[in-house]
Amino acid sequence: MNGISDEAFVHGMSAVGAGLALIAGIGPGVGQGIAAGHGAAAVGRNPGAKSDITSTMLLGQAVAETTGLYGFVTAIILMFVKPFD
């Protein structure tokens, strides 16, 4: 660890933390995929209700995406706002 200044260490660890925060993207990916799959199945069963199904699906997907976005916002804060400087 010799030769690394405190500042560089904090910056480097912030970058690592930002990368780790984006692991949060896994959950929404799986969830949105499941929602889209069930949406497709529902349209297949009842093609007449396509617009209703689509809007419900998009709403659910957007809510499922929130946790992923928390991770993204955390990463952005770590990278650019630099709270630990």
């Binding site: 030769g3 957007a62 809510v63 995406e65 916002v73």
Partner: protein
């Protein structure tokens, strides 16, 4: 050890163009204004917001003029058709979710829908999308928060607060957190989506000279991040606002 790695990274021609200069996707200060001891900055967000507001006001004035002069017997023109499609779609959206209460909220929901939509599309016109600033999305979500509780109290009086103690009083802290989390998650959802698009577009433009020779990737990404994602998030914001309000005033 550390500095050697950093030097190598700097000489790499990858994240390259932007690593020396300021990141292109951050909010930039344009002007300082001193009020007493505090310094207020005029940023790119303000300029973009003013552009969006002027566009919407001019559009509304022209639309008003056109509709007032419209002849009921004549064939409607292109612009009038366009206006009627917009009004019809927004009215149908609010009506489908709120039913009998739609009349009271259709104006507000339509306004924020158009505002957020134009803000999100701002990235296409060279503005930095104003909704990629948390200072813009938080007030929008706080409007929703105030509307939710104003309408809840108006409808159910004191019983509005009793809902915090359901199903048993032990759940009070959890219910309180979920109420406070509503504006937070609304604003972060909009901010995060638009911001991620802005960041990715900024990174793509940072390596633009390399990329433009291969395929027109920035154009395709603009379609996805600005048009598709922007429209979806606008829709979701308005839908969730309506769902939350409807939750409190219907029974």
């Amino acid at each position: 050890m550390g500095s050697g790695v950093l030097d190598t990274a700097r000489s790499l021609p990858l994240i390259l163009a932007s690593s020396e200069t300021e990141y292109d996707f951050m909010i930039k200060k344009l002007m300082e204004i001193h009020i007493g001891d505090t310094t207020v900055y005029l940023t790119t967000t303000h300029v973009a917001l003013i552009c969006v507001s002027i566009f919407l006001i001019v559009f509304a004035l022209i639309a008003n003029r056109v509709l007032l002069k419209a002849d009921p017997d004549a064939t409607p023109g292109m612009f009038q058709n366009f206006l009627e499609i917009i009004t019809d779609m927004l009215g149908g959206m609010v009506d489908g979710l709120m039913g009998t209460n739609a009349k009271r909220f259709v104006n507000y929901i339509s306004s924020i829908f158009l505002f957020i939509l134009i803000c999100n599309l701002g990235g296409l016109f060279g503005l930095r999308a104003p909704t990629a600033d948390y200072g813009v999305t938080l007030p929008l979500a706080l409007f929703t928060f105030v509307l939710i509780h104003y309408n809840g109290i108006k409808k159910k009086k004191g019983k509005h607060f009793l809902a915090l103690f359901e199903p048993i009083p032990l759940f009070f802290p959890i219910n309180l957190i979920s109420e406070v989390a509503t504006p937070l998650s609304l604003s972060i959802r909009l901010f995060g989506n638009v911001m991620s698009g802005t960041v990715l577009m900024g990174l793509v433009y940072a390596m633009f000279p390399l990329f433009i020779q291969i395929v027109p990737i920035p154009g395709i990404m603009h379609i996805y991040f600005d048009v598709f994602s922007g429209a979806i998030q606008t829709y979701v914001f308005c839908m969730l606002t309506m769902v939350y309000i409807n939750d409190k005033i219907s029974d």
